[in-house]
């Protein structure tokens, strides 16, 4: 494994020294990552991220690469000296991306990396950072493997190993909390779409441009009144941090919204069968269900509801509920189901434009987290532009005074980004979404709605 890492660093140095970065494959370099790759097979073989898989799979490929490098080095060197200099006079600006490309969040993490690469390409195609002489962004992706320990070491390694100006990541709140701690100590600005309210406590280098977990609950409750005059809600939630914190938010805010909670039930994630749980929901007399669940349990729950012929409106919240994979797994049964998100691909014209490009490249719509991080990349570019420096401290200061209300940086619900002292975007709010015709449509609140809400 040691050899592999060295190889990768060399490869990376080689790429950044040649300068011109016009093909999307070379704008991202993945470092690190030994062990099992959970995402590298089958349908996604076209992704260009370079990763070590298992030792077994790596060895032949490594040799193949080495041979290839040997043969092509001389050609590349000639090409580099011949043409590189004039494309970009300035040194590229390194920004880090921390995403789980392997492990249980691999599917979403890979989508994030694809979006991050697209965003960097968009910034570079538009002429890079002008105040730095047109310097291109260079994205360095690190695989945090859906694991908190790995996240800590990888964040450390990324920050100490490269001259970075800013970082974004890591999708799962549990991972982002760790990365944010490490970045805070290293005084490295971190942008994230993760929704945990904890990310806004005692942090000076973490910026959250999108709505917070506590805001999701309120939106879910308000939406329930759009589909029923007298919502009687059953909340079923997986009994770890994610489920309990989200469900407590719902329970605390329900009375204020005039929503009655008739069932409030924790369950252990990894159900063998959802029927007993749904039988219990049926007995509670609820007309609206809020499952706070991971994708595998959610599939079982949605199917059990159909199997038990239960007529009930469902708001599945965010996360695994608002990604293309959910529809792929559940099929037409997903039609009409409600959810909430911090971003949706139809909220404004810029978002729709990026979505069209992403869809063309990857065959599915740009999902919540991935779309949000395209906007984040443009926020970093905006800060770099104003800071006119690659110094992370100056970038952090420029982020703290960011105020954009147009362009790709502002393409979220609310349409404006300006951070408060806690790093929270004061204009952020969630968007209510509904599965309609195999796509996710914004239906709530009124100013963001792009399609009318369909009542079940």
């Amino acid at each position: 494994m040691q050899k592999w890492i060295v190889y990768n660093l060399v490869n990376n140095a080689y790429e950044s020294s040649t300068g011109p970065i016009d093909d999307p494959a070379s704008t991202a370099n993945v470092i690190g990552c030994a062990g099992v790759t959970a995402s590298n097979g089958g349908e996604n073989d076209d992704r260009e991220v370079k990763m070590a898989t298992t030792r077994m799979a790596t060895i032949p490929r490594r040799h193949a690469r080495r041979d290839f490098l040997k043969k092509s080095a001389s050609v590349a060197a000639v090409a580099a000296f011949g043409t590189a200099r004039k494309a970009f006079a300035a040194e590229p600006v390194n920004i880090g991306g921390l995403y789980p490309v392997t492990g249980s969040f691999a599917q979403i993490g890979q989508g994030c990396v694809n979006a991050a690469k697209l965003a960097v390409q968009m910034v570079n195609d538009a002429g890079g950072i002008k105040s730095l002489g047109g310097a291109p962004l260079n994205l360095i992706v690190s695989d945090v493997q859906s694991d908190t320990t790995v996240t800590r070491t990888e964040t450390d390694r990324l920050i100490s190993g490269y001259k970075l100006s800013a970082i974004h990541g890591c999708f799962a709140s549990a991972l982002t909390l760790i990365a944010s701690e490490v970045a805070e100590r290293a005084k490295m600005p971190l942008l994230t779409g993760s929704s945990s309210d904890q990310l806004n406590k005692d942090r000076h280098y973490t910026f959250t441009p999108f709505c917070r977990a506590s805001q999701f609950a309120l939106a879910q409750l308000q939406m329930s009144k759009l589909v029923s005059d007298a919502p009687k809600v059953a909340v079923i939630f997986e009994n770890t941090a994610f489920g309990t914190s989200t469900s407590n938010g719902l329970r605390e805010q329900a009375p204020g919204q005039g929503v009655e909670i008739v069932m409030f039930e924790p369950y252990s994630a990894g159900l063998t069968d959802a029927s007993p749980l749904i039988n219990k929901v049926k007995a509670s007399g609820a007309n609206m269900l809020f499952p706070v669940s991971y994708l595998n349990d959610l599939i079982l729950i949605i199917r059990a509801i159909k199997q038990n012929s239960l007529q009930i409106a469902i708001n599945g919240g965010s996360g695994g509920f608002v990604i293309p994979d959910f529809y792929k797994n559940v099929g037409a049964v997903a039609e009409g189901l409600l959810g909430v998100a911090h971003w949706n691909h139809d909220v404004n014209a810029d978002a729709q434009k990026v979505n069209a490009v992403y869809k063309q490249q990857h065959g599915e719509f740009l999902f919540e987290y991935a779309g949000g991080l395209v906007a984040q990349t443009f926020m970093i570019a905006d800060a770099l532009e104003r800071a006119a420096s690659v110094d992370p401290q100056k970038v952090r200061d420029a982020l703290s005074t960011l105020d954009v209300s147009s362009g790709y940086a502002a393409m979220g619900p609310g349409g404006r980004v300006k951070f408060g002292p806690d790093g929270k975007n004061i204009y952020a709010h969630p968007v209510g979404v509904q599965w309609q015709h195999a796509d996710l449509a914004a239906v709530f609140p009124k100013e963001d709605a792009r399609a009318p809400i369909v009542k079940a």
Partner: protein
């Protein structure tokens, strides 16, 4: 109220049928070969993926795929016995535990590499439909799974009691040394036992596919319940494992209904503890049936 209880019992029995297929496999291997197969859940997973790929690539219904999955897993079982298990039989408990445990890790990780951690589901025409018996719902996919599971268990029972090979297996289970003295070829008997056990695990996988998502770690969801059922139903006792599995399904379902959705398993484990305290050799203690 009565409907709710009846529905809970029905739900429990239906999932209990799946537990039974997994636990019968474990108990069969333990009874005959005297080895605990920690990788049994992984063979459920393999069955699910074979069934999934047959469905997604060739449009074959998961139930029809049983005729491919079961023979395929039987062959894997025979090879497993012949190439791996046979070599550790004389070595005592530890190498045997390490062998099947390592096999489990290996299969899971190879599956992660090949199939990714993504969930994969099959939409069968009957995936979301149900038969209504009065106020009771019988989900079609689970009902079919239950009926097939019970049929396979019955076929196995007949095989064990009415055929020479089956009797030889039971003889080997009761006393391996005496069985060998009576001219029973242990290699052949063991191979068939492991093959049949894996075929049952594969069948469980194919039967799950219309209503359960496949992913590399899916086997571990079911293998835990299977081990509890095997201990409850007396190690090595096929009928015991079947009855214990159904009981556990019902106990879990009633537990979720009346104790709490995160306590369903607690009811099952209390059952296990009480059984171990009062009847240490399991509910069907001592006798192998």
């Amino acid at each position: 109220m009565l409907t709710t209880v009846a529905q809970a019992v029905v739900n429990g029995l239906l999932i209990g049928g799946i537990y039974a297929l997994v636990s019968i496999g474990v108990t069969l291997i333990f009874g005959v070969v005297k080895i605990v197969n920690f990788a049994q859940g992984e063979f459920v997973m393999i069955g699910m993926y074979i069934s999934y790929f047959l469905a997604s690539s060739f449009g074959i219904d998961p139930l029809v795929s049983l005729i491919v999955v079961m023979p395929a897993l039987f062959v894997i079982g025979v090879l497993l016995q012949h190439l791996l298990i046979r070599r550790v039989l004389a070595l005592g408990d530890m190498p045997q535990i390490f062998l099947t445990f390592a096999l489990s890790l290996l299969v899971v990780n190879v599956a992660l590499l090949l199939f990714t951690a993504n969930y994969r589901t099959v939409q069968a025409p009957y995936s979301e439909t149900a038969i209504h018996l009065g106020a009771i719902n019988l989900p079609v996919a689970k009902l079919i799974a239950f009926v097939v599971a019970m049929t396979l268990s019955a076929v196995l029972w007949v095989f064990l009691h009415a055929t020479d090979l089956g009797k030889a297996m039971r003889a080997a289970a009761q006393n391996r040394d005496v069985a060998m003295l009576m001219g029973i070829n242990p290699d052949r008997v063991f191979s068939v036992a492991v093959g049949v056990a894996l075929a049952l695990a594969g069948a469980a996988g194919a039967l799950l596919m219309p209503f359960y998502p496949a992913y590399p770690l899916v086997g571990q969801v079911f293998v835990l319940m299977a081990f509890v059922a095997v201990v409850l139903g007396t190690l090595g006792n096929v009928t015991g494992a079947l009855i214990a599995s159904l009981m556990m399904g019902v106990a879990e379902s009633l537990g979720i209904q009346f104790v709490g959705a995160d306590s369903g398993l607690i009811v099952v484990f209390v059952m296990l503890l009480l059984t171990l305290a009062l009847r240490p050799s399991g509910l069907f203690g001592g006798r192998s049936r």
